[in-house]
Symmetry: C2
């Protein structure tokens, strides 16, 4: 049977991604989660010490769909020293009918990075004000760049401020993306970035808060992407305490990881205020009602995103094979 397993390498996967409109598919996944149609067990986790690394195993299925998905994605942050991406991984597509392995997507972590970027654009689409003149990006890694690659899904704004610990990396992103028609300013402090930006996206593996309450202007929307374990945090918990709208990608995961988890430990979370992204997508009345509200989306990454993107790639491949 194993000879029938489709194996797709990174280049093929990247070419398919250009032909797929992922945003509505990922939205559909979040709605399935919030509507109880997704079976998504707790995330599996392995932590490594020498060198420091972490692996997440996310898996599950949507009922009455043909596949189930297992995704292995890791972050080994010393990889960059040897010229490797810190992000590694692959996705596996299995049959819900027989358990057979149907496809192996050797994406080197790119599908995880992509579905994360698309989820960020979904939060921006549903929560940002209508007057976005500047998008602030915290961090200069792969995910920071993907925010720019996918920004058109959520806004026409091409005016960017970027901040990173390593200014030379921020300068490199400026050079690269100004060639693509963006106007990119490298911020010297996060405070400056927050003053100018109507949308802030955090993309770091930080274990200490980077943005503080006084930094954030009325009307700002913040999407926090980086914190996905119990040790990571990017936003000072006071911001979550006082924000107007607080959205999580998964109620279940926000119990054990992410910004909401951190703020909940401080007793800063009004549980009645927390909305799941799949609810917001279906019910716009849960979202922003004026241009002064501060809104926050805390994304930890949910297996439904992996299910949707892996399914989309495999279906696209089957269609491609049939047509050629």
């Amino acid at each position: 049977m194993s000879r029938k397993t489709t194996i797709l390498h990174s280049e093929t996967i990247r070419s398919y991604l250009k032909e797929i409109d992922m945003l509505p598919l990922i939205e559909k996944g979040f709605m399935a989660l919030s509507n109880g149609l997704a079976v998504v067990p707790p995330v599996g986790e392995l932590i490594f010490e020498k060198p420091k690394g972490e692996t997440h195993i996310k898996y599950g299925y949507i009922k009455n769909e043909p596949y189930y998905i297992v995704k292995v994605a890791s972050g080994f942050y010393d990889n960059e020293k040897i010229g490797l991406s810190s992000s590694q991984g692959l996705m596996l597509v299995f049959s819900q009918q027989t358990g057979q392995i149907l496809a192996i997507l050797l994406d080197d972590g790119h599908l995880t990075d992509t579905r994360t970027a698309v989820a960020s654009m979904i939060t921006m689409k549903h929560l940002a004000t209508s007057n976005v003149n500047c998008v602030g990006i915290i961090g200069t890694g792969t995910q920071a760049q993907l925010q720019l690659d996918y920004l058109h899904l959520a806004t026409d704004c091409k005016n960017i401020m970027i901040w990173g610990r390593d200014t030379s990396k921020a300068q490199a992103i400026k050079l690269k993306y100004e060639e693509f028609g963006f106007s990119v300013h490298v911020a010297s402090t996060i405070k400056t970035l927050a003053e100018k930006s109507q949308v802030i996206i955090t993309t770091t593996p930080s274990q200490i808060p980077l943005i503080f309450e006084g930094d954030v202007q009325a009307g700002t929307h913040i999407t926090a992407l980086g914190s996905d374990t119990e040790n990571k945090i990017e936003l000072s918990s006071e911001i979550l305490k006082h924000c107007d709208i607080l959205v999580v990608d998964s109620f279940a995961q926000s119990q054990t990881r992410g910004e909401v988890y951190q703020a909940r430990k401080m007793n800063f979370i009004d549980e009645s205020k927390v909305i799941e992204l799949g609810q917001l997508i279906q019910n716009k009345s849960l979202g922003r009602t004026n241009d002064q509200q501060i809104t926050i989306a805390d994304l930890t990454g949910v297996a439904v995103q992996d299910i949707m993107i892996a399914t989309a790639i495999f279906e696209h491949h089957k269609k491609y094979i049939n047509e050629h």
Copy 2:
């Protein structure tokens, strides 16, 4: 990077297995587990209803070794109706240094079946009396046959009694294995089998007890392989209550699955009596002290077995490639 991933298919894996002495390697894995050297998080699980199926995700690593392993193995029991093995799956070998996927072992579940059979032989080797004249096998599936394939690792006995719900399957195994020099008797009842056998191995996905206390003779060793979820049970819990030595493959997993889990729910388990297999392997004084004791090993399948067998296959492949 993904082009460098080694992909091994079932035929290659089966040919390598013939050249590897797995028993001491799997023993080493159990010892690592009992000695606190293995990082083995709880088993991930997906349950399917239409058709009925289950998937287990086992993963982990042994400290200071080069790899970490993720294994996906499923049982879809309607598969046989369409000519497919109920057992499906694959194993993934990753680098502990970078998180990169190094090898994909498309074993269709065969490595899981094999490491289970080898673990069974380890328990027999350490717990059976020295006078084994007959080995009783309950069940007629893949695992029942693998017990015969690997029996030589634990005993010279080739005298077998087998019982299955479907007598024609038991007859087919008799025909097949008598050609390999076994003497196989098809038992009409489990009671008859238990009367004649000094070792009994249960290999079914039963959800009701199959063997009862009165059936078991003094001196018998029983290895229960089949029960690996919270719903499955093969041995009446009274047997566990009154047995002399009770061994589990993993203390942690016996809290949530297997025969010990079932008996513990009845308050039938004297916790001070429960031994972990990796302890027994290192300390023979924990084992049988006379030929009248009834001993039980409850195996639920532990990720260290997957770590050891996947590592062995990948290392064997690298050696093979270097030599050719």
